[in-house]
Amino acid sequence: MSSPPDPDAVLSYDDTLFTPGHRACAGCAPALAMRHLTEATGEHTVISMATGCMEVISSPFPESSWGVSWIHDVFANAAGVASGIEAAYRAFDRTAAEEFTDHDDVNFVVVAGDGATFDIGIRSLSGMMDRGHDILYVCYDNEAYMNTGIQRSSATPLGASTSTSPPGAESLGDDTSKKDMPAIAAAHGCSYVASASIGYPQDFKQKIERALEHDGPKYVQVQAPCMLGWEFDPAEAITVAQLAVETGLQPLFEVVDGELVDVMRIRDRKPVREYLDCQGRFDHLFESGEGEEVIEQLQEFVDDRADELGLDA
């Protein structure tokens, strides 16, 4: 079991693979995730990307932030497109088309938001995993559809306000719990599954590197707060992400061949309300008795999970 990393660790970036100058909002944590991701995968990478914020901010023709080979097709099929790319390189290896790089020298990577992963693209992802493609699937989880203006996805946490789960006389925000995608990925027989947080970038990068050491499909989900959708000060993205981990709402773990092999232990786990309180999307929960019940529900859920995972240090 790992302990919290050194908060003062200095990170390096390779600015040539995901270049600055893109159009993300100031303080966009998903954009930071792109930067760490490409640094970890290196230049021998082909990315297939789903529609979403990270695609739109990085690829307006004739500019591109991508220093690695990159393709976007539609919202739902990033894993299907990557399946074809990976299969093509396998075929090139066999038919000895010399102008093509060897399959083993390429990192095939899917990048998709939580909407593209948990909802519309889950069939594509499931097929990719089922067929055993040698592809790393990275979901940047900002817990809603941000690109279309903050609508709920099945990654949206219980009680969160979004434009399609607004609080009101009959509503306390989103009325479903977050779908357990890592478990779904692990159940597909993925050789490597991990959850990560942009609040712990070193850990995220290491997980990407470790994932790439495995053959077959692998899944890494990185929580990356969206300042616009979650309503917090752009300067606070990392603090908010760290609070999600410190309260246990976002546990960081690794599952290898179906076995839980690592959980980042939390010393003095903070109450969930501290995390909920630092963002605007949960404000309404603090305004009524029913809202307090939702906070209680979330706390119970986290406590149970913490027991299950052995989260507390």
Binding site: A91, F92, A97
Partner: protein, 406 residues
């Protein structure tokens, strides 16, 4: 040249695909296409098909994986129809926009509801505006041969567009005909290796499928239009080269875009697609009227110029089509009328919707259409594009069950 053997249409198409040696085949079953991908699966299992064979989860990802593989520089194949083609529609439109050649066989079938597995052309026409080259084969041999032509055109570096080879579901996929399937060596002499203009090569990074803003999007769409129009010449060359090498010629006098059968100076003409033209050919062979068959082999790019040539001097023409665009009329008829607008001679044009969802089009049906076409010619108003559409096979008694009876 190979030998002629008795083969079912689906197996013959699969054998043709094998000779083209695709790098990646993506397969998902749907009747009546299934036999094509089943045959390819067996070939792959027997070690006769070298490429990767993806047993995908849906047509949506059959198209998606073909797009990914094509972007990587591969030669790809898939087959589908009907609901499957609809499910592919979203990614397929992007294949045109990204200028990625993807060749597919479409075993044409109607679209639900009501559910029907039988043949018509609703599925192909529903994809009409996606930027895919669309061929229609009249028999099994032509379906096989068109696969090679389709690869040559779609993968031509100056074209680089997806292409659909339409063949009538059941009527062609499930019939045995004597066919000559060219072998791999012959096909590789005809079909050059793919030379993609860009690939997802990690050592030479490219961005494909980014965001197009209003300042650029029009140009991307125009580029598809240009490539489509340009493809007419490539189709002509590819069809001619095919004839030279394999001895089977398809409409060379009309640049491979359409075929005519019957007297060149006929007063009347019937226009139709695919296997229906076989029936029409039989009927006109010993029909007393002076009538010819005009059969487009390609609907995108549209053979407008060739249709004008083929119909010059004709007094009346009837379009027999297995599709209809609700609220207007059959698309083939309306497109023919548009092609004839401003032409030097303008025949009366009649539009017929028949053969929907497997309803058989009999010799009698064709004869009745010929009679009405002759009447239209006799009425002596040749400059008329008749607005009224005829549905000669409609059964009035069944309509009584219609939910919104007026």
């Amino acid at each position: 040249m190979g030998d002629r053997t008795m083969l079912k249409g689906d197996q013959a198409v699969a054998a043709g695909v094998r000779s083209a040696q695709p790098d990646v085949v993506s397969a998902y079953p749907i009747t009546p296409q299934t036999g094509i991908v089943e045959t390819l699966s067996k070939m792959h299992a027997d070690g006769q098909l070298d490429g990767e064979f993806l047993k995908v989860d849906s047509e949506f990802n059959a198209a998606s994986s073909c797009i990914g593989a094509s972007a990587a520089g591969a030669r790809v194949f898939s087959a589908t129809c009907s609901q499957g083609l609809k499910l592919m529609s979203e990614p397929l439109f992007t294949a045109a926009g990204m200028r990625l050649p993807v060749v597919m066989a479409v075993a044409n079938r109607s679209l639900s509801a009501p559910i029907s597995i039988w043949n018509d052309h609703t599925d192909a026409f529903a994809e009409r505006d996606g930027g895919m080259i669309q061929f229609f084969a009249k028999d099994v041999q032509e379906a096989v041969d068109t696969v090679f032509v389709a690869y040559r055109v779609a993968e031509d570096p100056t074209i680089s567009l997806p292409a659909l080879v339409n063949l009538d579901g059941f009527i062609l996929t499930h019939v045995k005909e004597p066919v000559d399937v060219p072998d791999e060596a012959a096909v590789s002499a005809y079909l050059p290796d793919r030379e993609p203009f860009a690939t997802l090569d990690p050592s030479d990074p490219t961005t494909m499928g980014g965001v197009g803003r209003p300042e650029h999007w029009t140009e991307a769409r125009y580029a598809i239009q240009e490539a489509m129009l340009r493809s007419r010449e490539v189709i002509a060359d590819a069809t001619e080269a095919f004839g030279d090498q394999f001895g089977r010629e398809y409409g060379l006098e009309y640049d491979g875009m359409l075929e005519t059968i019957g007297p060149a100076d006929a007063d009347l003409a019937l226009v139709c697609l695919g296997s229906l033209s076989g029936t029409v050919e039989h009927v006109i062979a010993d029909h007393p009227a002076d009538v010819k068959l005009v059969r487009p082999r390609v609907i995108r790019p549209f053979p407008a110029e060739q249709l004008r040539d083929a119909l010059a001097g004709v007094e009346a023409v009837s379009v027999m089509q297995k599709e209809n665009s609700p609220g207007y009329q059959g698309s083939l008829a309306s497109e023919l009328k548009s092609a004839l607008y401003g032409a030097d001679t303008q025949p009366a044009v009649r539009s017929y919707v028949l053969g929907l969802a497997g309803r058989d089009v009999s010799h009698d049906d064709v004869e009745a259409v010929i009679e009405e076409t002759a009447d239209a010619a006799d009425e002596g108003h040749p400059r008329r594009f008749l607005a009224e559409e005829r549905w000669p096979q409609l059964k009035g008694d069944l309509l009584e069950m219609e939910v919104t009876q007026a």
